[in-house]
Point group: C2
Chain length 432, copies 2
């Protein structure tokens, strides 16, 4: 594989002509929050950057559940990597899945051949963690990429179409029982969004639909929601979900799911055709093949400067990296990945200039979770907000963070429309 993608080698010649051939190659694996920020931090550096991702787009994951619940379209929260980094002359993008990393030979194995690097930034992110539970991801739904979200959207909407065609009350009850597993932000936001989709939008599509026909479970293995938030906000979120007829059940751990029945630890079962697994993520599989020391959830242990111990040319960042701060692991959240991506790019340049590297210090920008219309919880340092004000904060922060003015504009229009007209734009079943 040419470090600079070029059909028939045409651009290789061009690359040599402007001296690129002499510059060290920095391979970045993953175009999520961390990888993208690392690539940008290297924009002015005397290196050739090769950014690699399985997808051709950067995904704004915090709003993925809104695609799954028909509130936003995929293009609203995904932006092609090439268009985000179009102005960066020292960068080339490869859409490919990295099959293996040979740290000794400093090469990445890609489907089209090997890619040699001088420096490597692993920002491969996380993937849904099913803890080895039977059937949970085969019959249920994760929520990590656009395909997950579209599968879930098609499935959710199709359950109502099936319910409209059955005369069997028990069948109907199973079709209209939606089980969300995991009381973190993803589970809470997803359960709230399903409730609003049903109660505010679908009731008009299905006039026979009674609220009592629909049952939304939020199962949490521990005894509280949103563990990272302050206890008063945890209780507020629980009440907000209750007002939306989401049945929150604590100390409930799922043991198995076969597409028709949920089995809880302890043996209790109930019928449900839908199980959304928001109970956790772990580092991407690629990290298991690195041959490096791994901590909890498969995360690779890094030095405070974000390097692999004994491999100064390799940085690992984001969900893939394990680093403790004040005795706690740095959380697997977007702000941490963004801050580490920026530092990895800067530290790599210090390495090139033979300067001392800086250690990573995580700055918590605060926490936000929305439960639905006019209702959210927010926490910045010791200040907490709930209800309408927190909801406006949530809206603003997410709009500002979205990449691309066009996306912001379209999302704003979609949200405003839905808010005033109780509508959802994307109620399409595009495949079964």
């Amino acid at each position: 594989v040419a470090a600079r993608g070029a059909p028939g080698g045409g651009a290789d010649a061009a690359a040599s002509a402007d001296g690129d051939g002499l510059r060290p190659v920095v391979a970045i694996v993953g175009a999520g929050f961390g990888g993208l920020r690392a690539a940008r931090a290297l924009a002015q550096a005397p290196v050739r950057v090769v950014l690699i991702d399985r997808h051709n787009h950067h995904l704004f994951q915090p709003l993925l559940y809104q695609v799954a619940t028909a509130g936003l379209a995929p293009a609203d929260i995904a932006q092609p990597v090439r268009s985000i980094l179009a102005g960066q002359r020292n960068l080339d993008f490869h859409m490919a899945e990295v099959q293996a990393v040979d740290l000794g030979r400093r090469t990445l194995k890609l489907p089209a051949g090997d890619l040699a690097y001088d420096y490597l930034i692993v920002a491969a992110g996380g993937q849904t963690n099913d803890f080895g539970l039977a059937g949970v991801l085969r019959h249920g739904f994760g929520l990590k990429d656009l395909q997950d979200a579209l599968r879930l959207r098609n499935h959710l909407l199709y359950q109502f179409e099936l319910a409209a065609q059955t005369d069997d009350r028990r069948e109907c009850a199973a079709l209209l029982t939606f089980t969300v597993v995991g009381g973190g932000p993803t589970g809470v936001e997803c359960a709230g969004a399903i409730s609003e989709l049903v109660r505010l939008v679908l009731v008009r599509d299905y006039p026979w639909l009674d609220q009592a026909d629909v049952c939304i479970w939020l199962l949490e293995a521990a005894d509280r929601l949103l563990p990272a938030f302050a206890p008063p906000l945890q209780r507020a979120a629980w009440q907000m979900l209750g007002r939306r007829h989401v049945h929150v059940r604590f100390n409930a751990a799922v043991d198995a799911f076969d597409g028709a029945t949920v089995t809880l630890r302890g043996g209790e079962t109930f019928p449900s055709r839908t199980l959304i697994w928001a109970a956790g993520i772990r580092a991407a599989d690629l990290l298991n093949r690195l041959g490096a020391e791994q901590a909890r959830l498969g995360r690779v242990v890094v030095t405070p400067t974000l390097q692999l111990p004994g491999r100064p040319e390799v940085f690992v960042i984001g969900d893939a990296a394990y680093l403790e701060q004040d005795g706690q692991p740095v959380p697997m959240v977007a702000p941490a990945a963004i801050q580490q991506g920026r530092l990895a790019g800067e530290n790599l340049q210090r390495l090139l200039r033979r300067e001392a590297l800086k250690p990573f210090v995580y700055r918590d920008p605060g926490l936000l979770a929305t439960i639905g219309r006019n209702d959210a919880v927010a926490q910045f340092g010791r200040r907490t907000f709930r209800g309408f004000l927190a909801w406006v904060l949530w809206l603003s922060v997410h709009l500002v963070q979205l990449i691309g003015f066009r996306n912001r504009l379209v999302v704003l229009i979609n949200w405003a429309w839905d808010y005033f007209f109780y509508d959802r734009a994307s109620r399409l079943i595009t495949s079964r």
Copy 2:
């Protein structure tokens, strides 16, 4: 299956309560242009309407090629049937595929059971016609529903990603050769849209991309494009495509496609990874199972009042119906389906009132085809337009015809953005 979809039969009771149980059931198969219009025409009639479609949405097919070429998102041109007809109290929608029609017993066979009807309107539309050619639809792409369009979009964009990773000039040439088959409006608009996607948008994503690397063929078996248009407009469209570097080849019929090589009748072959089949449609498969007399392209012969001969309770409309006017078959186009849908709904009510039925008279509203930015051809009676004016006409007519104000607004914003910023919103590869 209950005629009115109701979980546990709850709404059946309601239906009886307001006297619905006594009203005749009108089943409409297909929620395309014809079926939707027929359903609306029956809004005030003393009947229960059951509208059935495989998809949960009505699709604005004339803009489907823009989804395939990353210009519009699926939700922009598709609207859930339930939301279109939300206000119509005498209507129920079933998302299901009709497996068979028993004309004698007056029942439709659906996956969930049989549905009895008193009157039937078959508006099942058309499907891609591959004329039995080997591999053409297995390896190539039709363009009839959203799944087709998304598959094609993912494929088109992925070819450029693959080309970026190869050093093999011949491989690259095959990846970047796009073959469109069929010189009707779909083929012409699709070839023009691919050319603009490449020349105006993707050149910025792939700076190494040379116009000479990309080859777009438009193959037409006859000796002219747009056969329904006046000859001067046919020549104008040909010139507009030429200016966009689309190679139009006349008298070229495709014989086979295996995913890598296109074989023409006569034996000539050339490498191409992409074949878009816009060479024709035929009536949907369901029509073959009706047991009625069929004319060319599987269309079912109907009386001038749009009924099945000998079956006054069955209407067939749109692409599925064959009727001659002035010695010519009514064309398989949206305006004909819309006009027939309206008349079928009205004639059915005349039947209920024992009045005389009206014969169908097709009124040609004119023809429009766009080739790209500022370039289109239009024909209204003897008046013809080309270039910018025709393009503005094309834009306006399509915006007005789109269902739903929200869709119109979003499409307008998308088009304006693309026009001024040479961008395409939906350059996402959502699956491979």
